[in-house]
Subunit: 253 residues, 2 copies
DNA sequence: CCTAGGAGTTGACGCAGCGGAAACCGCAAG
DNA sequence: CTTGCGGTTTCCGCTGCGTCAACTCCTAGG
């Protein structure tokens, strides 16, 4: 059974140009060449192509793939080295992104000090926060989770609760700083912060992606939550909601 | 005052080749050219070069830098867009690194099932963990922190303590999975996990970089800690220590 | 028999940002 | 006169192909 270059292209999803390139660099020569100059591939070539595409998706270079396939080097060793390079590069980009973010913040600061977002630092936003208002709704919509949450809160002392409230406020302030710096909600640093928030929520219940997004929307819609966020910084509720949505998509689904 | 290309190269740190390149693409033409064909630069050119190098360090392309310097586009808008691209690329690399990591783990699994690291899942490693053994030493070495920690633990109920012990065990199991997968301790996913550990510790006290590293070493040296880690997986104590050290260097200093 | 069209071929340029080599020029010191 | 320094231009190389351009071969239709 022999396939033409167009057949292989259709079967594998790469372009015929790519196949010619792979032939050109010796990565995947066809099984034989017809008298008309056309390339013909056999099953073994298709298998080799599959290996190539697999490693290509992992980001390895064609040179390295060739070295592995011709078993001049160990595949795992190559992947380890590649992995290391990926992490180095990723760290470089993370640092770069932070630097750019800071630069933007500085430029913004110099430009319009007047209308920049103001961050307040209230000691404890949730003093006397009326949790009972939500109990009826929560008990109705998520009875199981409500029960779990109640069991947990019952084990807490008054001191615990106050400490958690302070931590919540501190989280909000940190988020407000990201927002003021113009940091997009998809920034890893923001996601790390949201992760802390999520873990905090998980002490009460474990929302899935949809539920966590819904909670974020509640922060925007509910007047009591919203006013708490507004006390820290204008627009923070929306920022928090968006960040939670990105987090939910990235880590919870 | 005019500088030759070699002068500018020495002053700015770039090569003369680069300066010629910048002239070639119109990014930084010299102020004037001598009758011998030599390039001569003025102060204004040096200032422009500084701007160029600044933005180049932020990772912007020469084309974009030119657009900004010739004020065809807003600098902040350009930086925002650039920042977005950086995050996208960084996320791509992170995903890629995870995929490569998984691939390595699968290859390893298939290769040597016999000697691969074994992960146990004990329900609660720290049942009856004898905390009092450490009290004397801790009180002596870090009296302030000891007091804070004691104040916190006093507010906890027995149920709280049991929950925290379970969480600690779960963290160890997750770390063991990273270790078994061959994930380097510098992997962002590992750092996120260490971050959770650090936040847990912060409920008792807030170690700085050196103190946190010391704690990691304690896990290795102390027989009781060590045996707890060894129960989960062989070598986990060292892995945890190394991860904590990397975390300390990256986030705490 | 001529022709249009489709599938194939080999070149070659382009991209980003230079590094490095080759080949040459002008000037000053030993 | 030679050597050496500092400058010049020009061109190839790197990565992984996309995108023409110009040709060839084969088949079906008028």
């Amino acid at each position: 059974m022999a396939w033409s270059i167009a057949d292989v292209a259709r079967l594998s999803g790469v372009t015929s140009r790519t196949l010619r390139h792979y032939d050109e660099i010796g990565l995947l020569p066809p099984a034989w060449i017809g008298s008309n100059g056309h390339r013909y591939y056999e099953e073994a070539d298709l298998l080799r192509l599959q290996q190539i595409l697999l490693m290509r998706e992992l980001g390895l270079g064609l040179r390295e793939i060739a070295a592995v396939l011709d078993s001049q080097v160990d595949q795992v060793a190559m992947l380890r080295e590649h992995h290391r390079r990926l992490l180095v590069e990723q760290n470089r980009l993370a640092t770069l992104a932070r630097t750019v973010s800071r630069t933007i913040a500085e430029l913004e600061k110099g430009k319009d000090e007047g209308d920049m977002t103001k961050i307040n630092r209230p000691e404890n936003l949730f003093e006397g926060f009326d949790a009972s208002r939500y109990e009826a709704e929560a008990r109705e919509r998520w009875p199981h989770e409500y029960e779990q949450s109640r069991q947990f809160t019952d084990t807490l002392t008054a001191q615990d609760q106050e400490r958690m409230q302070r931590e919540t406020t501190a989280q909000m302030v940190r988020m407000a700083e990201f927002m003021a710096a113009g940091t997009p909600v998809s920034d890893p640093a923001v996601l790390t912060e949201v992760d802390a928030h999520y873990r905090g929520i998980c002490q009460f219940w474990t929302p899935n992606a949809a539920a966590y997004k819904g909670l974020g929307q509640t922060y925007v819609d509910d007047p009591q939550f919203r006013s708490a966020y507004d006390k820290v910084a204008a627009g923070l509720a929306e920022y928090q909601r968006d960040a939670m949505a990105v987090y939910a998509d990235a880590r919870l689904s």
